[in-house]
């Protein structure tokens, strides 16, 4: 008989987050909500043993009580109970079962759940709404109003079943139907290639073979778009053709070509493996990889982000490195988006954000990896399709990563068991999301189990050091079909599927072969090393199964109980995919969409009304503008998110996400010292650049700007500009539309030009395409992540102002570049000129780095979104010190003036009064987002030495000083533009967006 155990807190704690989210759903009647935990045992061990179980394992004797009867709910109390669907990873149930065995209870199946007791005058319909929108995610859970019926195990369906698919005589429409119904995501050309292969072979494919081909040929696995031949047409804003180009693959022509062009001697591996590798010191290399997990996170935010971290950590294990730090960059829809306007089929962006943040933190924290660098952006374009970029850096002794399996080596799977989870992840991520995706692709979502992965980390490090394997790869998208298929490409493999350890019975052969169950790796093990590997695996609690061997016949043979269920030549599997031909068009945006004259007159002014006071109360109220930008969700403090990540574990975080006496000022990049390398002074830096708003204005400018941003962030904390490597992560819409692909082409062209100009090789990257919801694409988004070396860790610099009397320099010239800026977004303006690549950026960064190494820099901060104004405010907030700035000292590019009407030949400059002219210049100066700029704090006694480090042609301007006063004062000539108290800026920056988890409690 099933037993139900309920564990409740001794002091009923109500969950504020749920009440708040209920109100957002339009349910104002909820008064209180308490949460308790449920455990179900399939067999009743008797009251005495149950008592022991509760006392020792389930209920804390100080704060909780347990009962094992269905408690009748109190009058006026509604009950919703939620439980995981069968087969969903449930670590608590597993640990409970192990604990029961340890105590000596009879073994039986167990499962868990959550009980919500809701007080208030709510209707049945409202209860269902709460359950569906807030408490239960149908992708992984089920719920009941009232006590839930637990579901043990998984339903058993026929196993060993292999189907033949009739392909050789299928017509085109039938081929497409097969592709669609089996979620193969293959187009007609690709289906033709497969059909023709089987016509030649004189037989029909098995489902195992067809699924294997679809996974191996998926966009996710082979990057069809990035390898395609593209006819690219570049048009000006009026539609006139500027150029037509034939592109021989975006990856080859732009990304890899840039790496080839700059290839520095410290680059050890780019694009050939699961992660890129650079030299760290004499003994060690650093590996770095960033992945996306967008579609899973849209459907099940916690699990999607959780397994996103897990996946990228395994990429690092896949190059035999020990993972040592994580990064995360997140793009969400507006958090205050009205529930009523939310399209059906998507989760509210707030729920997505809460789940994703919790999922990222949970995995990294439990693995003991510091999550040290990232960004969070909010834009309506991500409403139906959030972006979740997970990054991981690792350390490996040079030359210890083996990459050559030998004939006779065993194919060995390590880690998690295989279930029906995550099937079709690779093809699912290569299709667009629609409001029905959640229902059809639920199985593509998985829940992570970080403790199993932690065991893998320990085991791989030990096995690597004892040279127990000859090749290794992550088991990610496509499962075994893709990892073993890839590993065996040169030699061929023979696999027995009944050797796979399953979570539960009943999986068909193709499901076992494709399952994307988490926390698995595949390695090649010489038979003589197997026993030692098994010994180490037992120590670290890692499951090992021997699946087959490397044969040498270049054939993929898969068996189920000795019966052959797939038999494919590796040559066709890996080289049979026809290369795509695609069309791309890019049409330049109109810069003149934004005319300053129109804008001024649009604000209702005539030339008679420009008085100093009218300007102050108008759009030229710099104080209000600056505060509004500080309050903008993309700028405002992310402390409430970042504090939930452990950024200190491993004891090597030297520059952390926060700085200054209040430990709340933002930093530009993370500096890390790997454990085990403290005998020398080198550290390394992680930074990133991302700016999708720029991409909407000019995708080429976005690419060069985010490369500059990643580089200048790294340089700002002390990275050597000649030791920076970068990763590219593209998240784009459906590339079969020529306009989407055209913008992608321009972005790749910017990537090439940027990487070559900055001398930063791409060492790894990833593209996630088809990010569309109901036919609307996300803003094309390029994330550049940088990994760099900071020699002399004692010289690293943070952004908080350090001491009154110090001088403030602005490095780099300011241009009239407000296109795609945060200011324009705030004002609702379009058009304008997007930031270009600065002239000779490396010269200034090298000079700055020399000054940092010389100990001449007290603080340094880069200028990015919100320009000079926001950067100054952040430095004041971080240091709790004021600054006095004189705008007239700024070095401004000549052509800034040419944009202004009184400098145009055909304009009547007399029509604009001088105070308006200077107001416009000040607006550009304060908020322009020109690249290549940093603010630098220098002690007066170091000023001469500092200035001497910069050649005369480098734009360096002394613009003010740090003061022992609690305000930021900005003047222009004789006129005071702002005098903002630090407290006011801090309030705007940190106060408005208070991120709160759903499970906030108030006792």
């Amino acid at each position: 008989m099933t037993v139900r155990i309920e564990v409740r807190g001794a002091h009923a704690a109500t969950t504020r987050g749920i009440l708040r989210n209920a109100i957002a759903l339009g349910i104002n009647e909820l008064r209180a909500c308490t949460v308790s935990r449920l455990y179900f045992l399939e067999e009743n061990p008797g009251a005495e043993l149950l008592q022991q179980l509760c006392t020792f394992l389930l209920a804390d004797p100080v704060t909780e009580s347990a009962s094992w009867d269905v408690r009748p709910s109190d009058k006026g109390v509604h009950v919703i109970e939620v439980a995981p669907r069968p087969g969903v990873t449930d670590v608590a149930a597993r640990e409970l079962r192990r604990g029961m065995q340890e105590i000596g209870l009879p073994d039986c199946d167990v499962t868990t759940g959550t009980r919500y007791e809701l007080t208030g005058d709510v209707t049945d319909a409202q209860l269902h709404l709460l359950a569906e929108k807030l408490l239960c995610n149908a992708t992984i859970q089920h719920f009941r109003i009232g006590p839930i019926f637990p579901q043990f195990g998984a339903e058993v369906v026929g196993s060993g079943l292999v189907e033949e698919v009739s392909l050789t005589r299928a017509m085109d429409d039938e081929l497409l139907t097969i592709s669609r119904e089996r979620l193969l995501s293959l187009d007609l050309h690709e289906m033709h290639a497969i059909r023709d292969f089987y016509i030649d072979a004189g037989r029909e494919p098995t489902d195992v073979e067809l699924e294997t081909l679809a996974q191996t040929w998926s966009e996710h696995c082979v990057h069809k778009t990035f390898r395609a031949r593209i006819n690219f047409t570049h048009e000006d804003a009026d539609g006139a053709v500027i150029s037509r180009t034939e592109i021989d693959g975006l990856l080859n022509q732009y990304i890899r070509a840039a790496t080839e062009a700059v290839y520095p001697e410290w680059l050890h591996s780019a694009f050939v493996d699961d992660a890129g590798i650079i030299a760290f010191d004499e003994r060690y290399d650093l590996a770095f990889k960033v992945e996306t997990h967008n579609h899973p996170s849209a459907l099940e935010p916690f699990g999607g982000a959780n397994t996103g971290v897990g996946g990228v950590v395994r990429d690092i294990l896949g190059v035999s490195a020990r993972p040592i730090a994580c990064t995360d960059v997140l793009c969400f829809g507006p958090q205050d988006f009205p529930h009523a306007e939310l399209p059906p089929g998507i989760l509210h962006p707030r729920r997505i954000a809460e789940g994703v943040v919790a999922g990222v933190g949970d995995y990294g924290n439990k693995l003991g990896l510091p999550t040290v660098n990232g960004a969070v952006l909010y834009d309506a374009g991500y409403l139906g399709n959030p972006l979740v970029f997970c990054g991981c850096a690792g350390l490996l002794p040079r030359g210890t990563h083996p990459t050559a399996a030998q004939v006779g080596d065993l194919v060995v799977a390590l880690g998690g068991r295989t279930g029906r989870d995550g099937i079709h992840g690779a093809t699912f991520s290569s299709a667009e999301l629609t409001h029905e995706t959640g229902e059809t692709a639920g199985s593509a979502v998985q829940i992570g189990d970080p403790i199993t992965e932690k065991g893998l980390i320990e085991l791989i490090e030990a096995a690597r050091d004892e040279q127990l394997y000859t090749a290794i790869t992550d088991c990610g998208a496509g499962g075994f079909s893709s990892s073993i298929g890839e590993m065996g490409e040169e030699l061929g493999v023979d696999i027995e599927l009944t050797n796979v350890t399953l979570k539960y019975p009943g999986l068909t052969p193709w499901e076992i072969w494709l399952s994307e169950a988490q926390e698995r790796l595949v390695i090649a093990v010489p038979p003589a090393r197997l026993a030692r590997l098994q010994e180490l695996a037992a120590r670290w609690d890692v499951d090992v199964s021997v699946l087959g061997r490397f044969t040498g016949d270049r054939q993929l043979v898969v068996r189920y109980a000795d019966r052959i269920v797939a038999d494919l030549p590796m040559g066709f599997l890996h080289d049979g995919l026809p290369r795509r031909k695609m069309e791309a068009v890019y049409t330049e945006k109109k810069i003149e969409d934004w005319k300053i004259e129109d804008w001024v007159s649009g604000n209702g002014w005539s030339d008679k009304t420009f008085t100093p006071s009218s300007l102050q109360s108008s759009i030229f109220n710099y104080e209000n503008l600056l505060l509004a930008l500080l309050r903008h969700p993309s700028i405002a403090s992310k402390e409430s998110i970042v504090r939930t990540y452990d950024h200190e574990v491993r004891g090597g975080t030297l520059v952390r996400p926060f700085t200054g006496p209040g430990m709340d000022g933002p930093t530009d990049a993370a500096v890390l010292k790997p454990l085990g390398t403290w005998e020398h002074d080198d550290a390394f830096v992680l930074s990133n650049g991302i700016n999708p708003r720029l991409g909407l204005c000019d995708p080429y400018a976005m690419a060069v700007s985010v490369i500059d941003e990643a580089v200048r962030n790294a340089v700002a904390v002390g990275a050597d500009p000649d030791r920076i490597a970068i990763l590219d992560n593209f998240c784009w819409g459906n590339p079969t539309y020529p306009d989407r692909l055209g913008a992608l082409v321009r972005t790749c062209q910017g990537c090439y030009d940027g990487a070559v100009a900055y001398g930063t090789p791409f060492i790894s990257g990833k593209d996630s395409l088809y990010n569309e919801f109901n036919g609307k694409p996300i803003p094309g988004t390029l994330l550049i992540s940088a990994i760099a070396i900071a020699p002399e860790m004692s010289k690293v610099v943070t952004s908080d102002l350090k001491a009154p009397g110090n001088r403030l320099y602005l490095l780099g010239e300011t241009r009239a570049e407000l296109g795609g800026s945060l200011l324009f977004a705030h004002l609702g303006l379009e058009g304008g000129i997007a930031p270009a690549m600065p002239a000779d950026p490396l010269t200034r960064y090298r000079a700055l780095h020399g000054a940092i190494r010389g100990g001449l820099v007290q603080s340094c901060h880069d200028l990015s979104e919100g320009g000079l104004g926001v950067a100054l405010a952040e430095m004041c907030i971080g240091g709790r010190l004021g600054a006095e700035i004189e705008m007239e000292r700024l070095i401004i590019e000549d052509w800034i003036y040419k944009l202004l009407p009184w400098h145009k030949e055909d304009a009547d400059s007399e029509s604009l009064p001088p105070n308006l002219q200077s107001s416009i210049v000040n607006l550009f100066s304060l908020f322009s987002e020109s690249n290549g700029r940093l603010l630098v704090e220098v002690a007066p006694e170091d000023a001469d030495a500092f200035e001497q480090r910069f050649e005369d042609d480098v734009a360096l301007a002394l613009i003010g000083k740090v003061v022992d006063a609690p305000y930021l004062s900005i003047r222009s000539g004789g006129q005071a533009l702002t005098q903002l108290p630090i407290e006011t800026m801090l309030g705007a920056w940190s106060g408005e967006i208070q991120w709160r988890g759903q499970h906030d409690r108030e006792s």
């Binding site: 004797p61 640990e95 189990d449 403790i451 004891g651 700085t659 085990g676 004692s794 906030d1000």
Partner: protein, 278 residues
Amino acid sequence: MKPSVLILHASGTNRDGEAARACELAGGAPEILHLNQLREKRERMAGYDALLLPGGFSYGDALGAGVRWALDLQTYFHDQIHAFVDSGKPVLGICNGFQVLVKAGVLPGQRNGGPGMTNDELPNGESLARTGMLGEIGTRRVTLTENAQGRFECRWVHLQVNPGAAAGWLGPLDELIFCPVAHGEGNFQVKDQAALDELTARNLVAFRYVDDNGNPAGGRYPLNPNGSAADIAGICNARGNVVGLMPHPEDHVIAIQNPLRRADRSGLALFRAFIHTA
């Protein structure tokens, strides 16, 4: 001879590496062993001069922080751990290690005069004798539970040693310790006021959260980062050889780790005292 320190690793332990480094810098000879290695009986706790249970997420903290490891300790290592504690050698539990010692009933420990329930107070008429060696888990009166703000948090805090603590070996720590907390279940709570009074009266409070001048945090967040009763950050047993604390002194053992770029208030002092007393 450098004192040997056994650092235990349960599946999910993750701050063992930096704990080992801190012990080394303090003059000790640390060795990290997985519980499975200890169960293979090749090594015995008794062969070491000191024992350290480091931070992490043992077994994912799936049934509450430290609960499963505490069960391991009581079922597989009951005699060894109690013999080690009774021998008077030092034992240090940090974060998850502290949670394990509390949930296993080793801290504050009833055998040596810590507060525990009497037979009468046991639920459902259980008796200490009947519950056997698991009894110490069910009868404890202190715990570490979910942070008051309901989520995991990572931030730097100031700690002060209780100068009168039964753990006299902490005496040399006259300076504050500045180091991070990183936990979701670090909220130290007691069954009732009597349990708290007893902890105080018997000098079992080892560390308290304070502000940067050493004034009591007084429950103010974030000085007291998790809502702990009486600002308690760490406790000890009556004999004083077992100490546990939530914050991570092992993450601040040299000046460059200090986010305020100051040279003082290092956590290394705690490890020096630990190794010195071993």
